[in-house]
Symmetry: C2
Subunit: 209 residues, 2 copies
DNA sequence: ATAACTAACTTAACACCGTTAAGTATAATC
DNA sequence: GATTATACTTAACGGTGTTAAGTTAGTTAT
């Protein structure tokens, strides 16, 4: 028993090493620019070994995709204690942007890259953590509505809108499309972006008071 | 003279054919999934011929990038006659989303794809039409501000915010990340998105009256 | 103890990719 | 008619994801 569990543990360890190496390389060079051979070299195994642990490159993608959402949920979890829902909503925005800019390549993987997202969409377990993150946002917005914010608006439509606003900013930044706007200080984009979004939310709120 | 101009014309024609073939393939399969060999096969030339007309694949990208912005400006131009700036702004949002969803792969090229956007950023001529499009938006917002909208906000910050809001929606759709929101009718996304954005703008306006 | 089997890994290969060096055939020029 | 320039192609390089077949060590069965 002990011997077979050790073997199983070792297998799991190698799987973890592959994932770790893949993650580090993806963070450095991005998904497209990281090859199976690169990963193999890093862990000092032959490229084909990786296929004993993962179906294909997309399978590794999926794993890190899930990991990314776990991390995002960690960023969010620390906000659960903020009791005022509107303040929490603004904090979510800030946390989301911080997460995206601190983990650019991971964010890319989660929300921008094309790759195997169509195959991933079928399997519900791949989106579990993603849905949890979105649910946290939706729940916060429901509380806001209960307090009189976003009157006459559907919670998940508001949630989607808020999400897409921050995603818009972040993805333009990550894919380097901000250069057309000269007056935007690239370095302080996170702060400026947060402010803009929260300014918008504030004004929306004032409109219904 | 006639003979050399004919040759020049023929060269230009082939260049155009390459661009046209590339465009069609990009629209069908996306940039990454279209190879130089695919383009060559389509126009019945050898792959290397393409390198006589374009420096590399990124060079073709740049050309279509510029073309995309020209087309976007065509969508915008038809809105110049809308005299009320706030109505025009809302029409711009609608047109932008329509453009993006009608020309998904082209939009991808312009605003999402990583590829050679860093090399493109240096050359100002590549962004000429892009800046014209953004200027149209900024100008409209300046007029809005002159009429009392967006009080105490910087025009190009507002412009960037508006842009990123619509970009957020559109890019989540194009890269298939909308599936987490079950209540969003995928088919009518354009309409729903337009409505959401314009609802937000309306509420922002009411807040300062 | 030896034979058969299994697990973990590697080698070699396939068909593709972007790109380039060298070659060819045709047309223009001297 | 010889040379040179133009327009194009062939063949190759080093890379990619992926797979079929081979190897080597360890486990199990007789």
């Amino acid at each position: 028993m002990t011997i077979s569990t050790r073997k199983e543990r070792q297998k799991e360890e190698l799987r973890g090493k592959i994932l770790q190496a893949a993650k580090e390389l993806f963070m450095q060079k991005g998904f497209e620019d990281t090859s199976i051979r690169n990963i193999a070299e890093k862990i000092e195994y032959s490229p084909t070994t990786i296929y004993l642990y993962f179906k294909d490159k997309d399978d590794i993608f999926c794993e890190l995709h899930k990991e990314g959402f776990k991390l995002l949920n960690q960023y969010f979890r620390s906000l659960a204690h903020v009791s005022d829902p509107f303040e929490r909503l603004k904090a979510i925005n800030k946390a989301y942007i911080t997460f995206a800019l601190e983990n650019g390549e991971l964010y890319d993987l989660m929300f921008i890259i094309r790759s195997p997202i169509n195959s991933i969409a079928k399997d519900d377990s791949d989106w579990e953590e993603g849905k949890r993150a979105f649910a946290f946002l939706t729940e916060t917005i429901k509380e806001c509505i209960a307090k009189g914010y976003f009157e006459n608006m559907q919670p998940d439509i508001v949630a989607f809108t808020v999400w897409s606003m921050v995603h818009g900013i972040v993805s333009l930044e990550i894919r380097n499309r901000c250069s057309v706007v000269e007056s935007l200080n690239q370095k302080d984009l996170a702060r400026q972006a947060s402010e803009m979004i929260n300014e918008i939310l504030d004004r929306m709120h004032k409109s219904v008071q």
